[in-house]
Structure formats: C-alpha cells, structure tokens
C-alpha cells in the first residue's frame, strides 16, 4: 500500500467510501474532485515536503476554503501536521481533515456540507410534499363538513317525520359530533400544525404522534 503514491491511495480511499471521480475538466482540481451522493467533494493534498515550504499550508487551506461554498472539502496532510494543529479549527469551518502516513489514512475531521444547524434556527420551508399534504387535508376537511351537513339534514328530516313505532325519537338530542373540533385538531400534543412546517419529513403522517401523545392518559 505504501508503495503507491499518496494521490492514488487517497483516490482508493474515496472510492472505497462510494465516491466517484469527477472527470469534468472545468473542475478547479481535476483528479482531486469526486461525487459523493449529491455532494461534490474536493481534496487538497499536502505532502511532507510541502510542510517545509513557507506559506504552503495556509495557501492550501485558503484555496480549499474558497471552494467550500457549495461542496465538501478535505485536506489530506501528513500525520505530523496533526501533532501541531488543533483539529477543532477544521471542524469549526467544516473542512475535513485526513491524516496519512506510510501505512494508514485516518479521517480526523469529517467534512460538513454548508448548512446551518443552530438549534434555534427553524426556517420555514415550503416543501412541496408538505403543501401537497396540506391540500389533501384541506380537501378531507371539506369532505367531512359536507358529510356533517348531510347528517344534520338527515337528522332534521327524521325529527320532522317520526314513525309511529319510534316516539322516543323526538327525545334524541342532536349528536355532539358537529359541535366538536375536527379530530386532527383535538389532540393537544399532536398539534404541531403551528410548527409542522419546520418538522422533519419522518413526522409526516406518523401515527405514533397520536399514540405517544396519549401516554399517561389512561393511568390518569
């Protein structure tokens, strides 16, 4: 393994991760660019001799930083660099760090795609699936209102025309159903409707939201 040049070893490393080499000649560094799922991945390699050249490390990191706008970027550096730098700096900026020696390549810091994950930021996305779901819920609600109107009408007719064998019919009070809130708004904890625009997709139509929100009620 060590007999191969580091470029080749790194290429195999990324291929083993499932990445595909990018052959686009317009890429800033053809040969060091890969596709990984939907992401583009760029790699800059520092060799042991580069560490002795003034400004080479900072120049390489800055050039990687300029590529980071829309892709994953990795710096591959000799393991020696790991002893002189705090890997946290790379993590803070989302730049991946691979450390290598003659025998091994280790991922010290995984590259992060550009996205903000601060806990308080909950951007409201107009997701097309969500819009579709809301439309379908609206349609279901309309349908339910039509059914209720029909039921009210049937009830009115039955009360106006009581059959001889059913004198008690007049005592039947209108069912409480029409005055109730729609079922999907009744459960207090399954009312992420205010928030649902920001909730992840695995919340969509998940029956557990209803089941779990009732935990403890039966005991009470």
């Amino acid at each position: 393994m060590a007999s191969l040049p580091i470029e080749e070893r790194l290429r195999h490393y990324f291929l083993a991760m499932g990445a595909q080499p990018n052959t686009n000649v317009n890429e800033p560094q053809p040969g060091n660019s890969f596709s990984l799922g939907q992401d583009t991945l760029h790699l800059a390699i520092l060799k042991p001799e580069d560490l002795a050249i003034r400004n080479r490390v900072i120049e390489t990191v800055l050039s990687l930083s300029s590529l980071r706008t829309s892709q994953l970027v990795y710096l591959a550096a000799p393991r020696l660099l790991g002893a002189t730098m705090d890997a946290g700096i790379f993590r803070a900026h989302g730049i991946g760090l691979l450390l290598y020696d003659d025998r091994r390549i280790d991922e010290a810091v995984a590259a992060q795609p550009v996205r903000t994950i601060t806990p308080q930021a909950t951007p409201i996305n107009t997701d097309s699936a969500l819009v579709g779901e809301l439309t379908s819920l609206k349609a279901m609600y309309g349908e339910m209102e039509r059914h209720l109107a029909q039921l009210r009408e049937d009830m009115r007719i039955m009360q106006q025309n009581p059959r001889g064998s059913e004198p008690a019919m007049e005592q039947i009070h209108p069912p409480p159903l029409p005055s109730r809130e729609p079922i999907f708004a009744a459960s207090p904890l399954v009312t992420p409707s205010v928030e649902s625009a920001a909730l992840p997709s695995y919340f969509n139509n998940n029956p557990w939201l209803d089941v779990l929100s009732k935990r403890g009620r039966s005991e009470n």
Partner: protein, 423 residues
C-alpha cells in the same frame, strides 16, 4: 413559547449503537451527527498526550485518530462500550466512555445563551436486551453531567425507536448488530416479555468468512478484521436455498466467481472453484443449522452458544424464522396475524445485495426472512427493511421526545416516561 414549539427546537436524541453513536437535536433535520461509539484511553506518558494540553482521560469523537498509537495498544486502550449491546455492571472503562460521549454529544449543540433555552428533552436509546441496571446507570450519567443542559431524560429500546421512526404501531422489529440480534414485537408498547435474543450477528458472518479465507490460502488476511469484513460485504451472498445454490455455483463456477480486490492495495482475493462457499456467509447469518457448517465447527470455529447476559438468554443456533415465530407466539393469538403483517429489519447485518444475473439463487434479507417463515407455514407476511436503516432509531427517539406528554413521568416498572432533571 408553548411546550410544543419549545420541543420543536429542543428535543435531543442519542442512539448508542454497537458501532456508532448518533446524536443531535431535532433541528438537525433528517440526519444526526455520527461519531464512532468508542473511546480511547491515551497513554499519559506519550508525546501526543502531552502535546494536547486540554486532552482528557478519555478521548471520543473525531479526535480519536489523532491519539492512536501502536496497533498492540488498540486492544486495551480503544474501548467500544456497546460492542455486544450490553455493558457489564462493573466495566468502569466502558461506562466512562458512555459518560464522555454523552457530555460530548450535548456539548456539540450548546444553545446560545438568553434565547429561552431551559434544557433539552433527551431521549437515549439502548439495545432492547439492556438490563435495568443499564437504564439506572445511564440516568445517573445524565444527572452527573447535567449542567443545566438537560430538562428531562428518558431511555427507550432501539427496536421500539425503529418502529416509531418507521411509523408502524404494530409490528415485529428485528435488530441485528455486530454481536447479537433481537426480535421484539411492538404493539403501541414494546412487548418485553415476548422478546427473543440471538447470540449471533455480523461478527459471526465475519467468523465464517475468515474460515473460508483460511481454506482458500489467505490465512494471512483471515485475522485482519477490517479486511474480513470488506470481503464479507463484497462476496457474501444469501442463498434462496443453500443446497441448490451450492449445486448451481459448482456447475457454473465462472458465473459465481467470487473475486475481490482490496482498494489501495495489491491484495486480491479469488475463491476460484470454491466460489460456491460465498453462499455460506449469508446462510450462516440467517440459519447456522445446516450440516455443512458442522465441518467448520469440528475444525475449531466456535459454535454460537446460548449465553446468559443480565436476565436474558441469548440463543446461539436459533434461525431467524424460528426466532420470529417463537417471539410472536408469546403474544396473544389475536395479535399474531397483525404482527406477521409488518416485520421490520433493521441494522447493518441485513444489508445483503443480489448481484445481477444471480437473482435465481441469491436473495436479499427480507426475501430470506419471508422464505424462512414460509417454511414454518407462515404465509401472509410482509417483511421490509427500515427506510433509513442507519438513522431510524434516531428518528424514532426524536418523535418520542416530541410527542410524549411532559407530565408522563418516568416509571421503573414500565421503563417509560420523563425523568425530570431540572425545571
């Protein structure tokens, strides 16, 4: 801010898997952060340890590779606490790793001050066979490490979280990891009394792969765990029916040839005329009872044994079909058809693919389970892989944390509810 919108921001999930620790708040969206579920105890005399002034006793997360030293040290200094899904009561090293990972996970998502943050609702997930002392110890860890960051904590079993993440309220979840597998029926609650645990997982498939490599003259590679795992993943196949698959492969050795080149090396493994043995790897995972495996046992490969861990007996040789039937038949008869209707497979040990042109003899994991159940007369079965095998536990924990009422307090009998730590 209502509690709902509060938990829409501050629900936090931690999945302690056998290999990876997945963690993060609900705002991570679909994908949590992942680090290896391991910790490194550095040699305090080493130059590397001294070079990092702030280095702690246990290193976790992405920094671990920076501290690794000789390969000989790894077996004692690099600790995977959940390798078998369970931690011994007295295994202080493993518990220290869990404690450090917990602090690390919360520390990576410290909210900014003065934004209304009153602590996370944390849902941690453990193997379904975890004994009560593991719940107690994990709760203690949260109490010890809570610096106002945790408002309430709960622990749920991983198969339960899988069912929640997948959106199925009545099902059987089979979680198969490196060291063991668990069959757990769910009907709105995990049915703990019906659980069946198997002392067999991905590690056993590695063991037979290693034997096959030895038999084919690759003894030097047979002890390298990473290589053996890669070989298993690349050449291992699950047979539709073992005897007929072996016959076919012996008749057409070129079609079934198992060949794998280790990336970045000159090492190439070629099983040539013995390529039929690639079917043994997959079969062994699902059913180790075929007589062909006896020759491996007699030559020294350890037979998966029944072992007792905590209060649970892990069956060694029970095949997956029998395990599911045993588990389901411990449930009420009325419920049984509903359970068979949704069988969910989760975990890396079910990631088996079928190469093109071998569809007649090789199958994926759901099909194999369906066939094993059919052999036992169970026909109306739906078997699926979880939609997001890697993250379904984490997804389930997030949903649980978001939906379970705040006033549903922790109960040691049912092992559910919120243990309030602050607020």
């Amino acid at each position: 801010m209502t509690k709902d919108s509060y938990r829409g921001n501050y629900t936090f999930a931690m999945d302690f898997g056998t290999s990876d620790f997945k963690f993060g708040p609900i705002t991570c969206g679909e994908n949590p952060r992942i680090v290896n579920n391991r910790g490194y105890f550095p040699d305090k005399k080493s130059v590397m340890y001294k070079a990092f002034e702030s280095a702690s006793d246990v290193i976790v997360g992405e920094d671990v590779p920076l501290y690794l030293q000789s390969a000989e040290d790894l077996s004692t200094r690099l600790v995977y606490p959940m390798r078998n899904g369970m931690i011994d009561k007295t295994d202080d090293q493993a518990w220290r790793v869990v404690s450090t990972l917990t602090s690390f996970g919360l520390g990576e998502f410290k909210p900014q001050p003065h934004n209304g943050f009153e602590g996370y609702y944390v849902v941690a997930s453990l193997s379904s066979v975890s004994p009560r002392y593991m719940y107690e110890r994990l709760m203690d860890i949260f109490k010890e490490n809570n610096h106002g960051q945790v408002r309430a904590v709960t622990v749920i079993p991983q198969p339960f979280a899988v069912a929640i993440g997948h959106g199925v309220t009545t099902c059987v979840v089979i979680e198969s990891g490196h060291g063991n597998s668990q069959v757990c029926p769910i009907s709105k609650y995990p049915i703990r009394a019906a659980q069946v645990a198997l002392n067999r997982g991905g590690g056993d498939a590695n063991a037979i792969t290693s034997e096959i490599l030895k038999d084919n003259g690759y003894s030097d590679l047979a002890n390298e765990e990473a290589v053996v795992r890669k070989v298993k993943e690349n050449i291992g196949l699950v047979p539709t029916q073992l005897d007929s698959a072996i016959d076919e492969a012996k008749k057409s050795p070129r079609k079934y040839r198992a060949k794998y080149k280790v990336p970045g090396t000159r090492v190439e493994i070629d099983l040539e005329k013995d390529s039929w043995s690639r079917f043994l790897i997959g079969e062994y995972v699902f059913n180790p009872n075929h007589e062909i495996f006896e020759s491996y046992f007699s030559r020294g490969m350890p037979r998966p044994k029944d072992v007792k861990m905590g209060d649970t007996i892990f069956k060694g040789m029970l095949d997956f079909g029998e395990a599911i039937v045993t588990s389901v038949e411990r449930c009420p008869v009325e419920l049984q058809p509903l359970l068979y209707r949704e069988v969910l497979l989760s975990g890396g040990n079910f990631s088996w693919s079928v190469p093109p042109r071998l569809e007649d003899t090789a199958v994926d994991a759901p099909t194999k389970i369906r066939l094993l159940l059919r052999d036992r007369g169970i026909k109306n079965v739906s078997v699926k892989m979880t939609q997001s095998p890697q993250f379904s536990v984490w997804h389930g924990c997030i949903i649980y944390g978001f939906a379970v009422p705040d006033n549903y307090e922790w109960d040691w009998q049912r092992l559910e509810g919120w243990m309030k730590l602050s607020g």
